[in-house]
Amino acid sequence: MTKMDNTTRYERLRERYQNGDIDRRSFLGLIGAAGLAYGVQTPFARYATAQTVSQVRFDGWGGVVSEAFREHAFGPFTEKTGIEVVDGTFGGGDEYLSRVKAAQPGEYNLAHLSGVFDYARYHNLGLSTELNEANIPNLEFVIPKLIDVFRKVSGGTLSCVPYDYGTTGIAYNRDHISDEEMQEKGAKILIDEALKGKIGGWDDWRTRMWYAALQTDQNPNDIQDVEAAWDAIRTHRDLALKYWTSGAELMSLLAEGEIYVTEGWSGRIYALQEQGHNIGYMDPPNGFGWQECLFVLKGSPLEACEELLNFMLAPETSIAVAEGQNYPPALDPSKVDLGAKIPTLPAFDPTGTLDGLVFADPAFWNGNEQVWSETFGRVKRGY
């Protein structure tokens, strides 16, 4: 017997009402009773052990990134298993965490999280789970270094699988800034007076602080002179036209010529280049590298999630998604042939060691998160 989901129940009831099989009072009464029953049972739903899973929810960064997931992963997965993937988007990890915090366990299932620092935050808030790696055999294709950093945070187990990596480098309009000028100025071009009103930046305290460290010649993972870094952020703020809040806005500001230079996400900038825009991209020394993972939240239907993760890590799926998103996959190039396009993507490491990328140290960045995120809120308003 097939178990009926709530949507089907509602549709059948509505059909009965529209056909005149039940009167309006009964229809509304049943809807009300269903609402009441749902409201009463929701707090206890977390204790349900047996689940017939017809859908899982996945939240990601939207834009071309989500489009690639939909086309190359979710659609084929639903076709194969019958499990629907409900696809949501968010503007950043903080925003998503806030939504998860307000929801019941199980309401949100999987998320495309960025950085080990995000993984650590979610884990420390008790939102992680323990994946059964036996159900994810495709994990063997993943670069071991990418897995190990997550294991360290969650005591040897995993609540996610690594999926891709990239950098937040500097994107610049080649019609106005030459490659030579970019090489010469590096991260300091973002505080160049000559470009006042044509500079952008991500409205994200970590990125702002990371680049401030580069502009003040400090190690981003060990910023000692914090005041100098805030001063660099203030200088950038006074020269910037706009802090962008999403990948779509970043692409629009650059493509429309509103700004000439900003930090940017490697894959999004590659997408702009593919569209024919004369935009250059450079990772300055100690540029911001990050690895993204597919995180499973506590309370999610584990087996269905593991099945989806395994499907997404299958080389053919992972490569197709990576080619759509323009971010190199977490697959180990020494084990999997990644095709022709991926080696051309920014930040790609053919060795699979990722030694050339600098990642944010979770302990350092999460340790300063509370104070720095609040201070950035003030600094960007002119303080």
Binding site: D94, K242, S252, G257, Q370, G377
Partner: protein, 288 residues
């Protein structure tokens, strides 16, 4: 049960659904926010329940929040002023037009069919470097280089006017539409010019509508965060943006709760002042 007793109970029975909704959807969540405002955020982002005054001390004592609140009230006041300036003639025209009033009102309502965010973002296509206005000016030879018009306080105010103008027009229209035009005719027959009859008869009688529209525009304008987010530069924040950041970005729900209650209190005082001197009846007419 006697007829009198039943009649006494009837209004309460009829009001029960509305009162239940208001209690469950407004007062209970508000109570949660009040409770939250006394909690603390721990270093991991988790909440620390208890009774702490730290958030209130910060919200009320920190010059940063006071300055942004004053800036928000200033922007809302400027927006309201321009809405009144532009909305009154439009409402007057609609109220005095013959025959096509319904079409004009429908045109006024049309923008509400489009998402507020989309309407706000449309200004990027109009005022952007490669937007319609710059393209037109360059095509006409008025300018040789595009002018940077976006992402400043002026565009935030422009976006707010775009959003709030219909509220002003509707309120003023309701007020003007209820004025007996014979009063203007009487003033004219007694020797007043059209301008004098407007100034001495129509304008004073329509002031309650103007005030109701002003209150709505001010309160809605002061509470917005989308417009500064889309059309503002790095510094152009309003108070609601601070609430958004505290809750969403910093995961500091307790501080966000205290800040939102602070904004609510300030706007609540304004509504109470309005109610004390003008009453809420006109506002209800406009909203109706």
């Amino acid at each position: 049960m006697s007829v009198e007793a039943r009649e006494r109970k009837q209004p309460w029975i009829l009001l029960t659904p509305a009162l239940t909704s208001v209690t469950l959807l407004l007062f209970v969540p508000l109570l949660f926010i009040v409770v939250y405002s006394f909690w603390l955020r721990t270093a991991t982002g988790a909440d620390d329940p208890g009774f702490h005054l730290d958030n209130w001390q910060k919200a009320l004592g920190d010059a940063f929040y006071r300055d942004i609140l004053l800036s928000t009230l200033r922007i809302a006041a400027i927006t309201t002023f321009f809405c009144a300036l532009m909305g009154y003639p439009a409402a007057y025209f609609i109220a005095r037009s013959k025959g096509n009033k319904a079409i004009l009102l429908l045109l006024l309502m049309l923008p509400f069919w489009i998402s507020y965010i989309i309407r706000t973002m449309s200004w990027i296509n109009i005022l952007g470097v490669s937007g319609a206005l710059n393209s037109a000016l360059m095509a006409l030879g008025v300018i040789t280089e595009p002018i940077q018009m976006l992402y400043n306080e002026a565009t935030v105010i422009l976006g707010l006017i775009h959003y709030l103008l219909p509220f002003m027009v509707l309120n003023v229209f309701v007020s003007l539409d209820g004025i007996d035009t014979n009063l203007e005719d009487a003033a004219n027959s007694l020797g007043a010019t059209r301008w004098q009859s407007f100034l001495n008869v129509t304008l004073p009688l329509s002031l309650p509508g103007l005030a109701a529209g002003g209150l709505l525009c001010f309160v809605l304008g002061a509470g917005t965060y989308i417009t500064p987010l889309v059309l503002g530069g790095p510094r152009d924040a309003m108070f609601a943006n601070l609430v958004f950041e505290a809750i969403i970005t910093q995961l500091n729900w307790p501080l966000g709760s205290a800040l939102s209650l602070m904004l609510l209190a300030v706007l609540g005082v304004l509504v109470m002042i309005y109610n004390r001197y003008l009453g809420m009846t006109q506002l209800m007419k406009g909203l109706g």
